[in-house]
Amino acid sequence: MSTPTSLPGFLISEQLPDAERGAAQPVESELAEYGPNLTEPSPATGDGIGRVVPAAKATGRYPYAADLGAPGMLWAAMIRSPHARAVIEGCDTSAAEAMPGVHAVLAGPGLGVDQVDYLGQCVAIAAAEHPAIARAALSAVVIDYRPQEPLTDPRQAFNAEPIHEDGNIAAHRFFTTGRDAVDRVAAAAELRKNAPSARRAEAFQGLKPGRGPGAQPDSREPEGGDGAQAEPEPSRSVSVIHGYEFARPANWPAGPGTVFAVPHGDAIEIHTLTVDPGRDRRALAAALGRPEGEIRLVPAPFTGGAIADDADLRVAAALLAARTGRPVKAVDGSVGHWPAGTAEPAARVHAIHVADADGTLREVRVELVIDGGAEPAAAEALLDEYCRLAAGPYRVPKVEVQGWVVRTHNPPLAPWPGGGAALAAVVAEAQMDAVAAALGVSGLEARVKNLMRTGDRLPDGRKVAAADALPELVAAVLDASVPPFPPGPDVREFPGTIGRTGEMTRLRRGVGVALAMVDLVPPGLPEELATAQVALTSDVHGPIAHVSTAMVDTGAGQHAMLRRIVREVLGVQRVLVRRPTAPGALPATPLASGRAAWLHGMAVQRAAQAVRAQALEAVGAQLAISPELLEVRGDRVVSYDGMLSRPLDEVYRAALRGAAVYLADGEFRVRGSGPAQPGVFVPEPGQAHVAFAAHRAVVDADTELGLLRPVRVTAAHDVGRALVPGRIEAAIAAGVMSAASAVFADEAPGARAYAGALACAQLPTALDLPEVDVLPPVQSSIGDLETTALRRRGFSAPLPLGYQPVGRIAHAAAAAALACAARDALSAHRTAIPIRPWETGPVL
């Protein structure tokens, strides 16, 4: 039998002698990388990315979904509702359908849309031979709206008539410590039952954000929520109350969403941006009313910043492709500007911090309302994450957190960059600065005095498993060098940048230090699962490994990480990553951001370990040792105790003789709670695995013109275990940049009227983005499934694979630090994000 030079499918199962065919069935798959030289595996360079793909990207030959085409292709366009709430009583598409070049028009009831629930909801789609014709056709569609009164102020949601059968409150969380458990449950039940009273809604509105310092020494704290016990306060304590507002995030992806759908008989192949093809295929199948097997979702290469294409766009492309029987390219371009119309903050948070005169925090109370828009289910995770991290990485004896997600007629909330961790960090760090100001100490002193320690509790009562890295992170960030002041001499480095308005006399510098934390496994988490398959075989060039995974590479090096894991476990340099083509192969649940890399990495590691055990069976027999106890170290196969070894290439030559193939599946599960089992990670009951980071930001302000310019962010992270160091630095830098956009994005007033219009967003440019100084990361964990063995060796609570989320926490810490630095530069406690320096009152 001749040795194949490359494997056409994944495996040729006829090559496996019957006796060796194991339980694993090869998964139908294709190579996951695009571009020239597909069969050449990426070499093991420092950042793990290789040469081929970056060269293709730099020369413009990397095929994004927008670059795909097919003979007979049609263009699709969408129009969106100008009303926030309306009934569609009828529509007339005859004029549109009569236009030459138009192949299909679906509108209103024909599209399954009878009721408009938010401004910008897609109400009509059309396919035509030219994008301009498609747009013209849609403007000829007549839709009969009967507008209704919309609910757009989330604060009114509590008292307003229910706009949905499930009511206006989509989610509620209440956590409190420092009180008896029985009282806690009873209070929560009562609160839930009564849902905020009119008095509460007024109280909520009564706290105006941003007026004055809000610090009242020698006063009692004002009446808080229902059931608050007003204890007499010792004298000379300080309480600080502020209301914070966060504008609705917009993701501004690098390219407009493009979905390319090709019908193949009954089936439809759809090229689209997705991080979770399985989940998105299920959703698309449900929306189209077709069986999943008829839909093939091909993850398209990422175009920076976008997490996934608009679900409406996918459905539009698929529907039109099915209807017309022709390939359809749907572009959610800027040409489809629609009025977004809501200046409503997406989140309002009220926080009360109480501290003793000596600076010890005594109590933290937080209340927040998140506007989930017309589809608030996705915002529940945001609320949950916020509430569990609401007090920040500080020890506080008494914490009370309560939050709601409400339903309104605003557009559904886009995925929040940095998640609840970012919201919590911005508020908590702002409050710490305010407490410090009220006490007359520095922000750093206030933080260090109250720094969390291992075993301290989060607001939901869980103990933090490992907080030892915190002091080290704070020290590292403070020791790092400061950018020179004043900046320049180039005037473009002053605030005002390209406008060249910078002037020394108006320049003020602010510095902010912020700590952030991210919870890895929330207790309520139902099971999350990832699977992978690894095959080890050889071709003319030597051993080669194939990894089949559902994990999509968004350009952040996810596949590089998986290749690194396989290289380490198997000692094989050439690794190809593949993605499954059959629906249902490699089952995986939807994975939250922050856990995806961990679960997929663990699944691949376990599959690779199983393959290694198979391949080393013969060697194990020779050495009289079980193959599970053998590892690959460098160029040798070594037993766990290092006593016995063999050269690796000799072992593989023998094991891979005759085009032998070793194939194994791997899976890894995570649950928030429940009994521990092999292959399942469950945190110890009452324990929280939390990652920490400390950032220091430097921001310059032009005090007269009201311009802010972030200069530098210094980042210190505990990354657990760095598998691909280049990836960590890139993830941190990306988090800092998205944080700078969130904190300093500067929308012209009134320009919020249009969503999707880049010109209105005035995002920071290259001159407005801070330098990112990533300090050598702390690696507190080496990680393996055998946690007991590691504990014995003194590592505290390591996670399997030594994983800690990095990108998310970078955004959270950077956003908090940049906001603190901006406040320092302006000498004003701004409470609205993004920070608008010229405003002196609350945002209207």
Binding site: D47, P54, G101, P301, E493
Partner: protein
């Protein structure tokens, strides 16, 4: 889409029938003439380059001239193709990223691949064109100058430091190549140039297996321009020279 497809689409009531105003025109892209027939008069240069002529290295990022992904060089100047009506580009020399990809990536593309290859890559072609124009008249740009040049581009994945490093890298390589080229010219002037061009052409033809019109890179002059010498289309005659555009246009044969 090749010319043939474009014509076909026009004939199939894409734009021609039904009263849509259509237009035929010719563009000069990467030194070669490209004929466009039956295009809707309202199409922008980006659409024509990508969809009618197949130059998909030019990316559509926003459609409103804000993101810089569609940057091409028109007469050597970085221009957002999404804001240029296609018919208005007739008679102007247009340069797209494709010309710098064959026979192998030029120094700017190579530097971007090394320093900025870790992101999604969508911004790279546009930033590459901008950097080529910058380096053509500023061989050693400062960090602030590079950032100002970049401020018309949006990269969501990577911090500006990566692009500063890439630009500096490319600047070094280009300076080295220019020095080499001058030395070579001193040795055997035009003969060496022609032989080199012929070799590159041959290699490129072999690679592509498809007849390609001859092109020359307009940005990197290989020899100092002599007085009255024909300048190359689409660019300045020499880095650092203040030749007016009239002179260049007049000198073009």
């Amino acid at each position: 889409m090749s010319e043939a497809d474009a014509g076909e689409a026009g004939a199939h009531a894409g734009a021609g029938s039904g009263g849509w105003p259509t237009v035929d025109f010719e563009l000069t892209v990467n030194g070669a003439p490209q004929r466009v027939t039956g295009a809707w008069v309202g199409e922008n240069l980006l659409f024509v380059l990508r969809e009618r002529l197949g130059f998909t290295a030019v990316k559509d990022g926003c459609g409103e001239g804000e993101c810089g992904a569609c940057t091409v060089l028109m007469e050597g100047r970085p221009t957002t193709a999404c804001l240029v009506p296609a018919v208005a580009a007739t008679g102007l020399a247009i340069e797209t990223p494709e010309v710098h990809a064959v026979p192998q990536p030029d120094p700017v593309a190579a530097a971007l691949a090394v320093h900025a290859g870790a992101g999604c890559g969508f911004c790279l072609p546009g930033i590459g064109m901008e950097m080529r124009a910058l380096l053509a008249h500023n061989g050693k740009p400062s960090a602030a100058a590079i950032r100002e040049t970049l401020s018309g581009h949006r990269c969501r994945c990577l911090p500006p430091e990566r692009f500063i490093a890439a630009t500096r890298d490319a600047a070094k390589t280009l300076a080295h190549k220019q020095a080499q080229a001058r030395a070579q010219a001193d040795a055997s002037a035009q003969d060496a140039q022609d032989a080199q061009a012929e070799r590159e052409l041959q290699a490129e033809r072999e690679l592509q297996a498809e007849p390609q019109p001859p092109h020359e890179s307009p940005i990197y002059p290989r020899v100092p321009a002599q007085a009255g010498e024909r300048t190359q289309p689409g660019g300045r005659a020499r880095a650092g020279e203040n030749d007016s555009e009239h002179e260049q246009a007049g000198a073009r044969s």
